[in-house]
């Protein structure tokens, strides 16, 4: 059970890894175009501006999101033959209003269908070349495509709509709670596999035009490294040494990386004192998330850290959330981390690896 869940997740993660550059480029194109006063071009026979060209390209790029998710999930499951039919399923999802979720489900269904075809369908030798070129793409698109159109498509579209109206109608106090939870979950393992799940959710909602979760995600990604840096500054001010020399060097790397939303720089610092650091950064990203969602700041761009703040719907809220979250993280770190001695400060050795259970992995073959 756990194994098959992991497999499903692996396929989704593969698709996201292909999708991210598309979403970043499209989101920034829209943001830049909009800032310059661009609008979506409706009629290409009329003259249009550079700004409108950028906005339109970005919007078209966002329209590729569902096909990308579907196509690359199918690729991950069934390899190359999955790509073309997978893209088609994403187009169906777009057309029915089933968006991101529809694209994911379509990708899974057609991916496993094609894998089954590849394993079980036998054709005469002369028809070998026809399998990948004609039989697989055509048959799978007909079977799964009709299934999408007539069976699963509309229920998914309905679900998507329910979810969006739920999020849009949250009152102020629930927004604080959900923003906090989302902020904590989205960065609980500093860009690792757990945080990919809420982040996937944010990317999906972006496609539906709900921008707030994306802002929580982007700002939350910057909070841990900036918060740890502030923690180091605060510790200097109150004269309580809490980081070793090795960790100080790590902070100098983590800070600039962190500004671009690469949270991973915090990992070497967190590893040495996992629970305390996690608590401090978790509170910080939670507070930032709550502020973002309460004031309904949205981000049209899913990645890029502080550099996309100007593109957000409420840049000032974004800055406030970032500062507040980072200060919370920094203060908690200074309060709860143990003071370290001169000797510990100079010790070059990072603490040994944490004991990890590797018994689930086997050498194969």
């Amino acid at each position: 059970m756990k194994k098959s869940l992991n497999e499903l997740k692996r396929h989704a993660l593969t698709a996201i890894s292909y999708m991210l550059p598309l979403v970043v480029a499209s989101g920034l194109l829209i943001a830049i175009g909009n800032l310059m006063g661009g609008e979506v071009i409706e009629d290409y026979t009329q003259p249009f501006t550079v700004a409108s060209a950028l906005t339109s390209l970005g919007v078209m790029g966002m329209g590729l999101l569902a096909p990308f998710i579907s196509g690359y999930i199918a690729y991950s499951i069934a390899e190359r033959p999955g790509i073309a039919p997978g893209f088609l399923m994403g187009l169906i999802a777009n057309a029915l209003g089933a968006g991101f979720l529809g694209g994911m489900i379509g990708g899974y269904i057609i991916g496993y269908f094609i894998r089954w075809m590849r394993r079980t369908w036998k054709v005469p030798k002369w028809a070998d070349g026809l399998m990948p070129m004609m039989i697989i793409p055509t048959v799978s698109s007909i079977v799964v495509g009709l299934f999408m159109y007539f069976v699963v498509g509309f229920p998914i579209a309905w679900l998507t709509e329910q979810l969006i109206s739920f999020l849009e109608n949250l009152d102020e106090s629930s927004r604080v709670v959900y923003g906090f939870i989302f902020g904590v979950l989205g960065h609980i393992d500093y860009g690792g596999p757990i945080s990919k799940v809420p982040n996937l959710f944010a990317d999906g909602l972006l496609l539906e035009g709900v921008l707030e979760p994306e802002a929580i995600k982007v700002i939350g990604g910057v909070v841990p490294p900036v918060g740890v840096t502030l923690g180091w500054l605060f510790s200097k001010i109150v004269n309580k040494r809490i980081f070793t020399k090795v960790e100080e060097d790590a902070i100098k790397v983590a800070f600039p990386m962190g500004l671009t939303m690469i949270t991973e720089g915090v990992i070497p610092i967190a590893m040495n004192d996992l629970l305390r650091t996690l608590f401090a950064t978790g509170m910080g990203t939670g507070v930032a998330g709550a502020i973002n969602f309460f004031f309904q700041n949205g981000s049209p761009v899913p990645s890029g850290g502080v550099f996309v703040i100007p593109a957000m719907t409420k840049p000032f809220v974004a800055l406030t959330a970032l500062l507040a979250g980072s200060i919370v993280t920094g203060l908690i770190l200074v309060l709860i981390k143990k003071r370290i001695t001169e000797e510990e400060y100079e010790s070059l050795q990072n603490v040994d690896e944490e004991e990890t259970d590797l018994s689930g992995f086997r050498i194969e073959g």
Binding site: R10, T14, S17, S76, G191, E353, T356
Partner: protein
């Protein structure tokens, strides 16, 4: 031992490369040679050659996503782990391999 490894994480910009460093450090510290291929967002770097793979005693696949070129390792002994394992427990992973190979 001669080892080869493929690493690939989801965003393909940070974990992948941390995992590469950890694996190289852990393996070399214990006197093994290792070559690591990264499949990040920028594409494949440090591509394993046919010779690398032929000579290797074991293939480490530390991947969160579907990687390309997996058919190269057909018939080789391999161990598959999440990228995260290489990031936080590369040393223990190499020790385990030493014991079990």
């Amino acid at each position: 031992m001669k080892l080869v490894a493929v690493v690939a994480c989801t965003s393909g910009i940070a974990h992948t490369y941390i995992a590469r460093e950890k694996l190289i450090n852990a393996a070399e510290k214990r006197g093994h040679s290792i070559k690591v291929e990264t499949q990040g967002t920028i594409g494949v770097e440090g591509k394993l050659t046919k010779k690398d793979i032929e000579e290797a005693d074991l293939v480490i696949m530390a991947t969160d996503i579907q990687t390309t070129g997996n058919e190269r390792f057909e018939g080789k002994r391999k161990i598959k782990v999440a990228t995260n394992i290489a990031v936080k427990a590369a040393g223990q992973l190499i020790e385990k391999i030493e014991k079990e190979i």
